[in-house]
């Protein structure tokens, strides 16, 4: 962690209140041999949206799975370091129990149950709860965020990509989580839908006070809703800072935000292909 550069305001949260989620120097190994995360640390303060950015294969999804416990289903293991949620150590706890502690992962690719209806998917999201009346109220609450889900009575597998993403988020809300781990909510969606989904993510954070750890390829969108961000590379955090600081950082701009000025198109800058994409 010592190599990582911190931009903007020093260190994520105020030291007075410990963050809701704290990942300390964890190392993750798949199949006992493949080292994927090598000393990753991050903190997610309560009530905030934190973005986790990085290229393909940097270990973003693995980080989320390490937190939610789903790593075990993929032969992965946290071999070092510690994950703490609300002061409690999460290492070694089964995924289905972590859901009961208030962490819900919206997996990459939506992963809704295709051969169930919308409503059944939502009810499934409330599996860990037993207050029938509350579940009913929350279904209406989800419908108020996603009115078009109410109109869809057929199988969820026939929903459009955007609707499936909404259903996946709605299903997460049904569990009444304190922290949602969101893996690539913009995947495969049209720019307009991406905007809509991110608008909803912001509203969930503001209205319901849900803390969100957001993994995204669409860095511009992610930084527009997040208050703090981490940039990962090869299993480590290499850069972190407030969303504004990251968004204005030259390297982040170049590698993740694109849209650089005309000078980048000049012949001279062919060199940039050779420039290594790291800050270390």
């Amino acid at each position: 962690m010592s190599e990582a550069t911190t931009l903007g305001r020093q260190a994520p949260p105020s030291p007075a209140e410990p963050p809701l989620l704290e990942v300390n120097n964890i190392e993750v190994v798949y199949h006992d041999v493949i080292l994927v995360l090598r000393g990753l640390s991050l903190a997610v303060p309560k009530g905030k949206i934190v973005a986790l950015l990085g290229a393909n294969g940097a270990g973003k999804s693995t980080t989320l799975k390490a937190i939610s416990g789903l790593l075990k289903t993929e032969e992965g293991e946290v071999t070092r370091g510690e994950i703490r949620f609300a002061g409690e150590r999460l290492n070694g706890i089964e995924a289905h129990q972590i859901v009961r502690k208030g962490i819900f992962q919206v997996m990459e690719g939506r992963r809704i149950v295709a051969d169930m209806t919308c409503l059944e998917n939502l009810r499934l999201g409330a599996f860990t709860r037993s207050d029938t009346a509350g579940v009913k109220r929350d279904i209406e609450m989800v419908y108020s965020y996603f009115p078009r889900l109410k109109e869809r009575t057929g199988l969820a597998g026939y929903l459009s990509g955007g609707e499936q993403q909404m259903l996946a988020i709605g299903r997460a809300l049904m569990a009444r989580p304190k922290l949602i781990l969101m893996d690539e909510p913009s995947m495969g969606l049209s720019p307009l839908l991406v905007k809509e989904v991110f608008g909803i993510i912001r509203r969930l954070n503001q209205d319901l006070g849900i803390t969100i750890l957001l993994v995204e390829q669409n860095a511009r969108m992610a930084l527009s809703v997040a208050s703090y961000g981490y940039v990962m590379e090869q299993g480590k955090v290499v850069l972190d800072g407030t969303a504004e600081a990251l968004a204005s950082n030259e390297d982040v701009k170049e590698f993740y935000l694109g849209g650089h000025g005309a000078e980048r198109k000049s012949f001279r800058n062919l060199k940039s292909y050779k420039r290594r994409k790291r800050w270390l």
């Binding site: 289905h96 859901v99 169930m116 009810r123 999201g125 599996f127």
Partner: protein, 297 residues
């Protein structure tokens, strides 16, 4: 042409077919939830029937009480079987798990013979009137009860899988185990539950058949009859299992009619479903309602 015999056999076929459907459903339940092909399904019927018989004769319990005790016993039986024998095999090759269930079948077959002997034993009479006439057809009272129970179980399954959260969790597990876990479902618990339900439901069928024909190791033959039924319906479809069961029941009895009227070959009744099985595998290997990409064994 003997129409009243044809009608009688058709009715028999429906009743027996509904029972096959129930057993097939419990077979599909295990396959769907935990991807295990359970070759010991027939032994679930056998164990259930013997245990019930034991409650009724040795303990002299009234039928309903013995029946409830049997259900309780079979719940425990299914749970223990899953936890002790099958849970350690999770993640092992399919063939090892199949071998284990075949082994379980042989073990319980032998255990029942050892405890209760090799001869068929009748249940004490349960109904005052043995037979009633329905629309001019003679029907055993037990068969009517069996039809009612079969329908009740099917409705129960329909309710369980659409309305209860544990049913939804089971469907989610069948769809994708990782997704189920991410929703807070304990996959090992779902497996155990599916085995318990399967054992209980099969044992109900076992008791009904036992009451009609007496209890003997022939009961486990139902476990074999289930194969044409589930393969006809599609290995992973509950609705398919019910329809497959009914079709197999009808097929058997119609084959029997054909045989007794014209062919006189003698054992069409026994083998007709298996001819059908061969045909289905040739023509429609995924069955009527099966998912196309499932693994065949």
């Amino acid at each position: 042409m003997d129409f009243s015999l044809l009608l009688q056999l058709t009715l028999n076929g429906l009743i027996v077919g509904a029972l096959y459907g129930v057993v097939a459903m419990s077979f599909v339940l295990i396959y769907k939830a935990s991807q295990v092909v359970n070759f010991a399904q027939g032994e679930f019927l056998l164990v259930g029937a013997w245990v019930c018989w034991w409650f009724l004769t040795d303990w002299q319990l009234p039928f309903w009480m013995g029946f409830l005790f049997t259900l309780a016993f079979m719940t425990l039986f299914g749970l223990v079987l899953q936890v002790v024998v099958l849970r350690p095999l999770i993640g092992e090759p399919v063939i090892s798990v199949i071998m284990a269930t075949i082994g379980l079948g042989i073990f319980f077959q032998a255990l029942m013979k050892w405890i209760f002997g090799v001869f068929a034993k009748p249940f004490p009479p349960i109904f005052a009137t043995e037979r009633v006439s329905v629309l001019g057809l003679e029907v055993q009272t037990v068969y009517l009860l069996s039809l009612a129970i079969s329908l009740l179980i099917m409705l129960g399954f329909a309710w369980f899988f659409t309305a209860s959260k544990h049913g939804l969790a089971m469907r989610a597990t069948a769809f994708d185990q990782q997704v189920a876990q991410s929703l807070g479902v304990s996959v090992p618990r779902v497996f155990a539950m599916s085995w318990a339900i399967s054992a209980v439901v099969s044992s109900v069928a076992g008791v009904v058949v036992g009451v009609v024909n007496g209890v003997s190791s022939a009961l486990s033959f139902y476990g074999i009859k289930v194969f044409p039924a589930v393969i006809l319906g599609g290995l992973d479809s509950i609705l398919g299992a019910v329809l497959g069961g009914i079709i197999v029941g009808l097929l058997e009895n119609w084959a029997h009619y054909l045989d007794s009227q014209w062919l006189n070959w003698g054992n069409m009744f026994q083998i007709a479903p298996f001819y059908a099985l061969v045909l289905i595998l040739l023509l429609k290997p995924y069955g009527l309602f099966g998912t196309k990409n499932i693994e065949r064994v």
